[in-house]
Symmetry: C3
Subunit: 343 residues, 3 copies
């Protein structure tokens, strides 16, 4: 990771309640207890792994306040209320080292239309294309190889990673993060069947992405037929997800990788969809619905339900049916026996 | 959407049979009856929603000829034979405003090989790469950040959106539209297992895309091992679809998002595949076959059948089996009762 | 394909044991026996098709040593031990013609940081971005429109196709081939739910790709939370696959298109996953496991097992259950009859 922290720097980042031992190593990486080597920082995030601390070669270990054991030679224990939270602080510092915020600038190889409004603290990286009448807010960072279509608005402190395409007249809120290769504002998939062929229905709406949304690599979000495709504030979308035209997604939802949401469907707040879930069109996924991986949802759901299977039913019923399904050979035999024909 | 139409312009676009009322608003957007605000145009596409016209705030409403109601103050009704068709005319006009055809040109930042043949009315946008011996036809538009491999031919009036990659020696017909991030001509996935490892089988065929085909964002179409992977005229492919090597797709098919088609499979004309459908290799999907979302097809199909489930069976049978599947707990109880062991 | 080989050149490439007949045609393409036309080379790869040789119009046919038939007029038979292997030699030569290794160079439109180390025999194509402290090995080829984040290392003789993004601090071995649009090193999908919203867990690990790995178009591979996401030597990954953070994939595996692997899962050597397979998180897929298309694997697997269905069970059991599932209508009738209520 090309970082190196003196133990005193780690102590300053973590602010432990107390400490025990010492190490002469610079911390260059993070590792689990069992794979750590000298120069690594590790942590006891789950008490069930506490025996692994005895054998870890990590130079620094983050441990909970009630942890009882002496560090090895050249090893430092830092006692904290929550080792996972303390680790996150270290990771945040590393993140800042790995991706230092570049100084505000417009790279000489970027192609920026003179009618675009770029905030003075924004950064436009190499080989970006910014078309006319675009607005880019304070502190936002277009990393490189990014295309922003005309009349699109990007809020403050967004981070758009390489290869993203944000088409015409779309809107991104503040602190939006798009991983590489995201397409925002592709045409919705709408045709009318006329005289033996499919005629395109023009897709002239846009996509509106709320504050604090993150979108995963190579995910696609279609523009509305008219009006808006909407991703609500704080929602997190994983890689290779498809979001159809006129979909409205609420706040603080989680859409795992390869989910597909068909057009005109509404997903309310706090919905969680597992990997490869498919959602039909023109339905409503109620607040707090959860669906396991590969579930196929074709009807409205009730709030807070946990679904599984295709077509989706309650997780508990689905699991029970799976067990009975696997007992079908036995059931066929029992019926044969009842019929007087034991196999 | 950054458009504004005077009511007289809308009347000119729509050519209503007659009209009633008037509005002083400029039309800036389109909305459904229930969400429309002043400045919006709305439409009564389905008679069952006619009661909603009474409460809409839309400034202009497209209504069918037999619609009976007076417009509100500052509201204009336009009477047309088919409100949806009339709306499409307005959308087409907006589409032309949003994406005006740029004047023919080759952007100064594009990298075009001198042996490429670019028609005089074609447009090559910023940061495109066009390799040697490429041919690009009259009126075609490469929007930006596009890579065209050597010896590839692109027909007339195509629109290639940002981030597309069209690899070596492929062929696109006329009026082809590729949404952003499409890959045409990636290598087919072919290996031979030799001495404990997979040896690559060279993939030296190409991809041939017919006239009037549209391909969705981030979809991938592999080149043939040899000969051609073919997408037939008028076929529409949604986002994130995978089309394997040597696949032959007929005319006027619909492939919804995240469909996957394995290598060497033939899909005949007018086939419709729902979202996330998987199609096995070396099979034939007969003319007019339809498959519901997430269906898994591993065998040849009969013309005009409607399939569902994995493995795919007829939709009617699949729905019946789903009902019986959910009655398995009852069936197990009934058999126990017959055995003299009621639960 | 824009190639043309004199028959003598084909003979030199194939080195047949013996030959029969002759042709005046230049060989410009490869085709199957039934679709070949003059100027095509064809081959008898499977003895069951030997009758097709009689009617083929191919100018050259690769046939096995024991094949008995006279060539037609203007037709040449080349007798070889293994026609498929001989064909692969011809395809390799065509591949070299289609994609000749460009001379080592850094294109004038590429943006290369002065701290990057580019081997003297490497080629950096048009409009690539290479950030600081990157290392690119001998003979490697970045074709165009590629983004390489700082501190990333790319080994020898890699071929990175247009539109790929390799993020910060990742490592590629030797002879790695990335098809177009691949994203290596996107953030893992990790959040903690705090006070009603999802807080991002920084993802500061990297991705390590072994020697001889090939990755398909628009596939995404997430960087580890910390430590490494690993793709083992010789593993082949198809298009539109999602590989989550901290996944460890062994050597010589095959992951077909649209597979999704959730975070922290281990896939051992020689595993084969069919198209659209979903794999849950934090599990181990044992050496040599095979899974059919659309299988959903949520538990550890045993070595060498062949799985199918969701949730995954043995292929043989799954097929048996499918048959019984389709007999449910019959079973319900039989139980009704036993109950004295024949339908």
């Amino acid at each position: 990771m090309s970082v190196a922290y003196h133990p005193e720097e780690i102590i300053a980042i973590v602010s432990p309640e107390f400490q025990n031992g010492s190490t002469s190593e610079l911390i260059r990486s993070i590792a689990s207890l069992s794979t750590a080597r000298p120069g690594d920082l590790s942590f006891l995030g789950n008490p069930k792994y506490k025996a692994k601390v005895a054998n870890t070669a990590a130079s620094i270990v983050l441990v909970p306040l009630n942890f009882v054991r002496e560090p090895a030679t050249d090893q430092l224990f830092l006692y904290v209320a929550n080792p996972s939270t303390a680790l996150a602080k270290v990771c945040s510092r590393i993140e800042q080292s790995l991706w230092p915020k570049p100084p505000p600038s417009i790279h000489s190889t970027a192609s920026v239309d003179p009618t675009a409004t770029i905030a003075s603290t924004a950064t436009i990286g190499p080989l970006c294309v910014v078309e006319g009448n675009v607005e880019i807010g304070e502190g936002s960072y277009l990393q490189g190889h990014i295309f922003v279509g005309h009349h699109t608005k990007i809020g403050r402190n967004c981070w758009i990673m390489p290869g993203c395409i944000i088409s015409t007249a779309c809107e991104l809120g503040h602190r939006v993060r798009l991983q590489s290769g995201v397409v925002v504002g592709s045409d919705g998939f709408g045709y009318e069947f006329v005289a033996g062929h499919h005629e395109k229905v023009p897709q002239v709406g846009n996509v509106v992405v709320g504050n604090d949304v993150e979108v995963g690599a190579n995910t696609t979000i279609d523009r509305a037929r008219f009006s808006h495709t909407i991703i609500g504030e704080g929602t997190k979308v994983d890689n290779l997800v498809q979001i159809g035209h006129n979909v409205v997604i609420g706040r603080h939802c989680i859409l795992c990788a390869q989910v597909g949401v068909s057009g005109s469907t509404t997903i309310e707040d706090y919905v969680i969809l597992g990997g490869q879930v498919g959602v039909g069109g023109h339905i409503t996924i109620a607040r707090g619905t959860k669906a396991g991986g590969q579930t196929g949802i074709v009807n409205d759901t009730n709030p807070g339900t946990y679904l599984n299977g295709t077509p989706a039913i309650s997780y508990v019923l689905e699991r029970r049916l799976q067990v009975l399904h696997q007992r079908l050979p036995e059931l066929f035999k029992r019926v044969s026996t009842l019929e007087g024909n034991p196999e």
